[in-house]
């Protein structure tokens, strides 16, 4: 098991290096540079700016310099926000986005898990159709629609909750978390239902039933573990998606998270910020995928046996 994790972590190094390399050269191909602005920039000013940010060096040299800084953990200065470096911007946004992501994931697992399992127990009955239709609405409902709708109802008409902000006014974290979580809840519900249906037709479930176990024990003790494998496989990418995909929610609710920085960096051609976010994000993704693989292995009895054997 530990060896498996060790190997995967070692494999991650070239993955991340490849991501850095591709991104580094890709962003430079995009038209427009970080210092282009609506008002014309004097050539002398532009040259001075490029010199301050090492952009006057040949590209391969810039690349090596970047890698050099990276080994020291320095992601470089931001182009868009002079006086801030990328490490600082990420560490300002990360706690917020992570918190939002975790709340959203909890909302998603809770709502999605329950409706998926409930629906799978009596397929093709009202108990199936109702939660699944709700899940479908959740999928159809893009965040840029669902968020404003929630704001209108709970923020403006009922005046129960703040319409924007994060950690400024009590209760302002509720609506963003629900908005972000709902779309994922819908996915989890559907994947969970499908997974449960697969498992419920397996022999070992029939064996369990034959032993006379009550149905809820069959579900919680035996079926849940296997049936949630597709959900777990989905969780790794989903959490990474939550970190970047929170852009819309962060914009609607003025949440000071990473998603906004990440997307805006691309539009601002804030090279160091793009790279920094990419490095950071790719590390996270690799870790989460690893985590979800380990979880899936642990939940799948056969694969677990294999791990134990190693």
């Amino acid at each position: 098991m530990w060896r498996f994790i060790g190997i995967r972590l070692l494999q991650a190094v070239p993955v991340i290096l490849a991501v850095i390399t591709v991104t580094f050269f890709l962003v430079r191909m995009a038209p427009g540079g970080p210092f282009d602005s609506e008002k014309a920039v004097m050539p002398e000013v532009k040259a001075a700016l490029e010199a301050q940010y090492r952009l006057d060096l040949p590209l391969p040299q810039q690349y090596l310099a970047y890698l050099g800084d990276l080994t020291k953990g320095d992601l470089g200065p931001s182009f868009k926000y002079p006086g801030r470096d990328v490490n600082e911007l990420i560490s300002a946004g990360l706690p917020v986005t992570a918190e939002l992501g975790i709340y959203a994931l909890l909302v998603a697992l809770f709502l999605g898990g329950i409706s998926g399992v409930v629906a799978s127990l009596k397929p093709n009955t009202a108990q199936d159709y109702i939660p699944m239709s709700l899940a479908m609405i959740g999928i159809c409902m893009p965040a840029f629609l669902f968020g404003p709708l929630l704001v209108l109802v709970f923020g403006i008409y009922l005046e129960w909750l703040p319409v924007a902000g994060w950690g400024d006014i009590p209760g302002d974290k509720i609506l963003p978390s629900i908005t972000l979580g709902t779309a994922y809840a819908a996915y989890i519900a559907r994947l969970g239902r499908a997974g449960m249906l697969e498992v419920m037709s397996q022999d070992y479930i029939r064996t369990a039933r034959a032993k006379g176990l009550p149905e809820w024990q069959v579900v919680t003790r035996h079926a849940l573990r296997g049936g949630m494998i597709p959900v777990v496989a989905f969780l790794g990418p989903a959490f990474a998606g939550l970190l970047t995909g929170s852009f819309v929610v962060e914009t609607i609710f003025q949440v000071p998270g990473l998603g906004r920085f990440f997307v805006q960096a691309a539009f601002n051609r804030d090279y160091t910020m793009i790279l920094g976010s990419t490095v950071f994000l790719s590390t996270l993704i690799v870790l989460f995928n690893l985590l979800s693989d380990i979880l899936a292995a642990w939940m799948n009895p056969r694969l677990r046996a294999q791990f134990g054997g190693r």
């Binding site: 995009a30 038209p31 427009g32 210092f35 282009d36 602005s37 609506e38 008002k39 014309a40 920039v41 004097m42 002398e44 000013v45 532009k46 001075a48 700016l49 010199a51 301050q52 200065p77 868009k80 926000y81 002079p82 006086g83 801030r84 470096d85 911007l89 300002a92 946004g93 809770f110 329950i114 399992v117 404003p148 704001v151 209108l152 923020g155 403006i156 005046e159 129960w160 909750l161 703040p162 319409v163 924007a164 902000g165 994060w166 950690g167 006014i169 009590p170 209760g171 509720i174 809820w216 919680t220 914009t251 609607i252 003025q254 000071p256 998270g257 906004r260 920085f261 539009f267 601002n268």
Partner: protein, 547 residues
């Protein structure tokens, strides 16, 4: 079933949180009580160093934190004393002497000196600084040569400290709008010891603008800066005119999403919004005691034409396109009556300048011109593409314009929406046919608009080049003896420009804000300039948000 118990628990917790947070006091009512203005500022500023950043949100923040030699009166826009108590001009108008207020202090208590300005302007113009707004100081003698690296010695700049409180500025030629520029942040003084404590003077990366480090000289000082959340300022006790400052503090919010901003206003989280979504305008206009405030703004929305590519290299085609734009309908419908139709690059009313109206909405003439150019009823038309950068209102204008041209002239028009940096690249490379553009004045003078179209100018981007035009703007206008004569020269130049039509003016901008009725001292003006020094919150006003 354990799941059920868990569910009940979570639902209970959820709803108790909901109930617990209901009925809290809104920002607006607590702000009114404590004298704190909650201000929607559009976006997170790039930074707060006056010689590094550019942009409107940055402008608001910096002008609250710092003060220039002279400031604009928000009611009249005429210059009034700031750090300088008074100033006088030499006979020929080339030398200005500023007399600094002896009470002017930095927020750490240091007195302000003329030397502060000498050093700060050297910094602002230093080529290594990469200051995008360095050109604001170019009327100063030798400034351009120094900023472009042709002159190495900053001591030769036309700015000298005659004594502690007397600053002498030598200009290249008389510049009537120069005093106005003293209220632009690129000409502000910065505190030398603070900057040098945190790095080289020309370093863009230093941390001197952080809350714990910053020293400024304005009516407010920085007290909290939370990235992408808010910037909080409190009244400065060292400010020379602190008695007149009525607000105890200001909270600036980076309200990037304008739809959310309007909702925050409605929920009482903001006193003041930067803008308002177009569709909301009629709703607010219909209200009694509406919080909606709209006023002409010193800016023009127009389309650039690339005069080097067919079919728009033909002046008749350009004129036909411009005459076929029904600006009245556009302003009344798509723009919800929130803008004014424009027929010139210079907005009307810039300190008495009346731009010429060379053409009007004239479909017959437009069709005739197009036929003359070789495209009768659009026959043989090679196609035309309108380029704009991603934005709701640009999209609306482009879609409407496309259809107007199609219907009026029977020509094929397509539109291309480009992401901001791609669009900027297209415009500077002149890789477009017709491209959306806007220009907001940096100071109130026709020169600021007309010098865009000098031959080879960085913001020209149309290929328009006319030596006679250059001569009018560069040589004749500065030498004019009177304001009337100067304006007559500008009128002549602008008439030339509008006949050649390298641009299609569409509308004059307006500033559009939602302002809570309790906010006072925020008069509308052409520069949309707010001086927080004069703002106060009227406790007597009911704090309704217009619902």
């Amino acid at each position: 079933m354990p799941l059920n118990r868990l569910k009940t628990l979570v639902v209970l917790v959820f709803f108790s949180t909901l109930v617990a947070c209901g009925g809290g006091e809104s920002n607006v009512s607590s702000g009114n009580r404590e004298g704190i203005l909650h201000y929607g500022n559009g976006s997170e500023p790039q930074g707060l160093d006056p010689h590094v950043v550019t942009g409107v949100p940055e402008n608001h923040l910096i002008r609250a934190l710092f003060e220039g030699l002279a400031v604009k009166n928000p009611y009249t826009l005429e210059p009034e004393p700031g750090v300088a108590e008074s100033w006088d001009f030499s006979e020929d108008g080339r030398i200005i002497t500023f007399h600094l207020n002896p009470r002017a202090k930095w927020s750490n208590g240091d007195p302000m000196t003329a030397q502060d300005y000498v050093w700060s302007w050297q910094r602002a113009l230093n080529p290594a600084m990469g200051n995008l707004y360095a050109y604001m100081l170019f009327p100063v003698k030798n400034a351009k040569a120094y900023a472009t690296g042709d002159l190495a010695d900053p001591e030769q700049l036309g700015v000298k400290a005659l004594d502690k409180l007397t600053l002498q500025v030598t200009l290249n030629e008389p510049t009537p709008y120069f005093i106005q520029l003293m209220d632009h942040y690129s000409t502000f003084a910065v505190h030398r010891p603070t900057i040098e404590k945190f790095g080289k003077s020309t370093d863009r990366f230093t941390k001197w603008t952080r809350v714990e480090n910053m020293v400024s000289n304005g009516a407010f000082k920085l007290s909290q800066w939370r990235l992408n959340r808010r910037i909080v300022m409190e009244k400065s006790t060292t400010y020379w005119d602190a008695d007149k400052v009525k607000l105890n503090g200001i909270v600036f919010y980076p309200t990037e999403n304008i739809v959310s901003e309007e909702r925050m206003f409605r929920a009482g989280q903001l006193h003041y919004t930067q803008v308002i979504p177009l569709e909301k305008i009629p709703v607010y206009q219909a209200m009694e005691n509406t919080p909606y405030v709209q006023a002409p703004y010193l800016g023009t929305y127009f389309f650039l034409i690339n005069t080097k590519v067919p079919p728009v290299d033909d002046v008749r085609v350009r004129q036909a396109l411009s005459m076929a734009v029904d600006r009245d309908t556009l302003a009344a419908t798509v723009m919800q009556k929130s803008v004014y139709p424009a027929y010139s690059i210079t907005p009307p009313g810039a300190l008495g300048y009346k731009p010429p109206k060379v053409f009007g909405y004239d479909l017959e003439k437009a069709r005739a011109l197009l036929a003359e150019a070789g495209y009768p009823n659009g026959e043989g038309w090679p196609g035309l593409e309108i380029t704009y950068n991603t934005s709701e209102s640009h999209r609306k204008i482009a879609v409407a314009l496309q259809q107007m041209w199609k219907e009026a002239l029977d020509i094929e028009v397509t539109i291309a929406n480009q992401e901001w940096k791609v669009y900027l690249d297209s415009v500077t490379q002149m890789n477009f046919q017709v491209a959306r553009r806007g220009w907001i004045g940096d100071y109130v003078d026709p020169n600021n608009f007309l010098d865009l179209y000098l031959t080879g100018g960085g913001n020209n981007n149309t290929g328009f080049a006319d030596p006679h035009y250059d001569d009018l703007i560069l040589r004749k206008a500065p030498q004019a003896k009177s304001r009337e004569e100067r304006f007559a020269i500008f009128t002549e130049a602008e008439t030339m420009l509008m006949k050649e039509m390298p641009i299609i003016p569409v509308y004059t901008y307006t500033s559009k804000h939602l302002i809570n009725p309790s906010v006072r001292g925020v008069p509308s003006n052409l520069m949309d300039s707010i001086n927080f020094k004069y703002v106060w919150l009227d406790l007597e006003t009911k704090t309704g948000t217009g619902e």
